[in-house]
Amino acid sequence: MAKVHVTTTINGEPTEFLCEPQQSLLDALRNNLGLTGTKEGCGTGDCGACSITLDGRLTCSCLVLAVEADGHSIGTIEGMAQGDKLHPLQRKFLEMAALQCGICTPGVLIAARALLEKNPNPTETEVRFGLAGNLCRCTGYDKIVRAVMDTAAEMRETAS
């Protein structure tokens, strides 16, 4: 089958890859590019484990064709820490034990970052609605929501 050549930017790095025309971006990230931080839960847009940003917009990578990434810019969990320096959300999630098995965590972090970029001072309800597309079978969500609220408070303090 004819492979398609895709030119894109991933976490700020110009990247090229070959993919099948019907392959999902999630599949290409994991299997063609070795970026396995992005997880697959459902493959149908329901769980959010595959969350990425596409030109800065939060998206499920299982609902994007890899070929659609051509000419666009992708952000994955691998680009969240700056070298060894964790993003404040990542640090808080560890400190506050906002994860157990960790399968949902990359997607939750990407979605939470997108939420805080738009709304640095969310209410608890806004956090819960903002993360409604991310399912977690382990934590019961409370610890996730508290970690996001705490990070938001910390980031507001650092910013002021």
Partner: protein, 293 residues
Amino acid sequence: MTEIRYLAPRTLEDAVSAFAAAQGAASGTARILAGGTDLLVQMRAGVVQPGTIIDIKKIEEVTAITEQPDGSFVIGAAVSGATLHDHPRFGKVWPGVLEAVNLIGSKQVQGRASPGGNLCNASPAGDSVPAMIAAGAVVTVQGPNGRRTLPVEKVPAGPGRTTLTPGEILVSFTLPARPAGSGDAYLRMIPRTEMDIAVVGCGVNLTMAGGKVTAARVGLGAVAPVPLLVEDAAKALIGSTLDEAALEAAAAACRAACNPINDKRGTIAYRTKVAGVLLKRTAAIAAERAGRK
């Protein structure tokens, strides 16, 4: 999955000719790709197996939002819910249409899902459709024989079917200019608070002057094979002060229009009753927005 051809034309003319040619070919069906939040799920489930996918997101007209000098809005069919949300003016003029579009799925789904995809997927429960019907939206369609326009409620033909003819692509929605004193709203009933399919969806669009309704449109979703324009409900509201008798008459018209299915989300009796309840609640919000005190 079988072999698929992916095309991303830059003009509508190219998209239409590729679509028409691929639909005529033996290589199986061709599908338009907007946000892909229905199409990719259906492909994964094996429900549709397109031979050709035509991505329309590189076409400018299909991805633009324009406020015209006369106050009307033209929304490209493939504009995502998130993009519509970020438009500085749209949500101020059409808060009901925006809230309906933004009810589609999660924030992640919003990043891609389009009103055009919602309409062309032709689910009886598509959330944006009753709000667009209430708004009086007119769609522009382009096909091998040129362009035509039609009222949005004429597009769905039944579950999963539209009235678009082979090779036709939905280009945009045009929402008319708003007279002063206008307001719209959309409410849906779902068993959860987020991420579910409407049991009933109701869109109401009102214009009021001196405390009286001068113009009204009502759209209902998930209560029939296609979303409905309920003209009798609008007639019951026009001329009234939205007093209890007028609201009850409009609610009765909504109940009478219902021809729903029984499923795990709601029985026929429940959906029918809720249609009337939602009409009253939605009309109240639309009236507030129209400036009724």
